[in-house]
């Protein structure tokens, strides 16, 4: 799976639309993959988790290749639904919540050994905090790299509420993931329902 992702990443690393942006956007996934590799002894996750992470990183890599605001799928969505902007970034924010909540929950379960109600709370709060941190990182990078571009650098595409929309997309993704997880574990094992 790791090999597959690296090949996919390398393929999309060939001729990105904006190589500066690609390098910037590739730092985080590479760090993340590095942490997973070094952490797999101390904190092994399930195959489902690794698959979800790979799925999310694949989406992010597509975004990095085309420079988020110009991803063809988003352009297609914009024409099909008559939207004002390319919403591929929102799709990936949503996927962040949807795909990464389960791995996070699993990691928290192993690390804290807490009950499932508390774990659901912890995963929700952490995902929200991370969504906020992501917006902060974006804004810091934008203000250092291109202060003249303002919010255009972070792909806001003229949306004054870009940060809020992004965070809401991540929150909805997380909420859906948690409902699915809670539903599945309740069906499998009635004792682990959220309290």
């Amino acid at each position: 799976m790791l090999g597959g992702y690296l090949i996919f990443w390398a393929a999309l690393g060939v001729q990105p639309l904006d190589s500066g942006n690609w390098v910037l956007a590739s730092i985080l996934p590479l760090t993340f993959v590095g942490v997973l590799l070094f952490g797999r002894r101390a904190l092994p996750l399930s195959a489902v988790s690794y698959a979800l992470i790979a799925g999310f990183l694949a989406l992010h890599t597509i975004g990095a290749h085309y420079t988020y605001a110009r991803v063809p799928m988003g352009d297609w969505l914009r024409t099909a639904l008559g939207l004002e902007r390319n919403h591929f970034d929102r799709v990936v924010h949503f996927a962040f919540g949807l795909c990464l909540t389960y791995p996070l929950l699993e990691a928290f379960r192993r690390l804290t050994g807490a009950g499932s109600g508390f774990l659901l709370y912890l995963a929700l709060m952490t995902q929200l905090a991370l969504a906020g941190v992501w917006e902060i990182i974006e804004s810091v990078v934008a203000q250092i790299a291109r202060p003249d571009l303002g919010t255009a650098f972070v792909g806001a595409q003229g949306d004054p509420w870009d940060a809020q929309h992004d965070m809401l997309a991540a929150t909805i993704g997380t909420a859906i993931a948690l409902l699915v997880i809670a539903g599945l574990s309740w069906r499998r094992q009635p004792t682990v329902t959220p309290r």
């Binding site: 995902q127 905090a129 906020g132 902060i136 804004s139 509420w161 965070m167």
Partner: protein, 236 residues
């Protein structure tokens, strides 16, 4: 709301027991009620005052409901009191119009904004920072009480909650701006034209929480190392 706070504080007072802390809690509750009432008279913008006080109602109700199951230290209640008082001041004047600049000028002869080269009213930023700085300690106490976690998780959880709640707060501000729109929406968000308003607000809350967490961790480290080496005497 004040009645709930008062009755809650009153109940603690009449229960007696280790009197000092409870008397202090009644004292804090009374002082806050008086300040709050004073600032409820003729606020600059009644609509914004009402919106801002939604948070106060929730906070005071939460304290009233949980004070017995999750008793906090006097320090924590003082920090919460300080934060809610600053928030009441922001609600009275409307955050973006709190006249700290004029107050500072009448004391020193020069405006604070002028001195620091600020272009906007930064009272809201200060309170976002203090949200993290002041409230992380009570939140940590509540978490330790509820979960029994020690070490890393007892520091991680309050930071986690501070950062996620300040992200949620930005979402609430945005929702209120959309729902109420116009002048009230603008007053409530209080961005004053800053395109990075949400990010700066969240950063300051996170910074406040981080500082408070580092202080708590250092304090804990000092106390435990002193206990481990009773004869060593780390001093001061």
């Amino acid at each position: 709301m004040r009645a709930r706070w008062r009755s809650a504080a009153g109940r603690i007072g009449t229960r007696g027991g280790a009197g000092g802390r409870r008397t202090y809690l009644v004292f804090l509750g009374t002082v806050f009620s008086l300040i709050w009432l004073g600032l409820a008279i003729a606020p600059r913008y009644r609509g914004d005052w009402a919106l801002e006080n939604g948070l106060t109602v929730v906070a005071v109700a939460l304290l009233a409901v949980t004070h017995r199951r999750i008793p906090l230290s006097s320090v924590s209640y003082t920090l919460i009191f300080a934060f809610l008082t600053l928030h009441a001041v922001g609600a009275h004047y409307t955050y973006s119009e709190v006249p700290y600049d004029a107050w500072f000028a009448s004391l020193t002869g020069r405006g604070l904004n002028d001195l620091l080269g600020w272009q906007r009213n930064n009272y809201d930023r200060a309170v976002h920072f203090l949200y993290g700085l002041l409230l992380t300690t009570p939140v940590r106490e509540a978490f330790v009480h509820l979960t029994g976690f020690r070490g890393f998780w007892s520091y991680f959880l309050p930071m986690d909650l501070t950062m996620s709640s300040s992200a949620t707060y930005e979402l609430i501000e945005w929702a209120a701006a959309i729902v109420f729109g116009g002048e009230l929406g603008i007053a409530y968000v209080g961005a004053q034209g800053d395109p990075w308003d949400a990010q700066k607000d969240m950063s300051l809350a996170a910074l406040g929480a981080l500082l408070s967490t580092v202080v708590a961790a250092l304090h804990h480290w000092r106390t435990t190392s002193r206990n481990r080496l009773p004869a060593g005497g780390r001093g001061g």
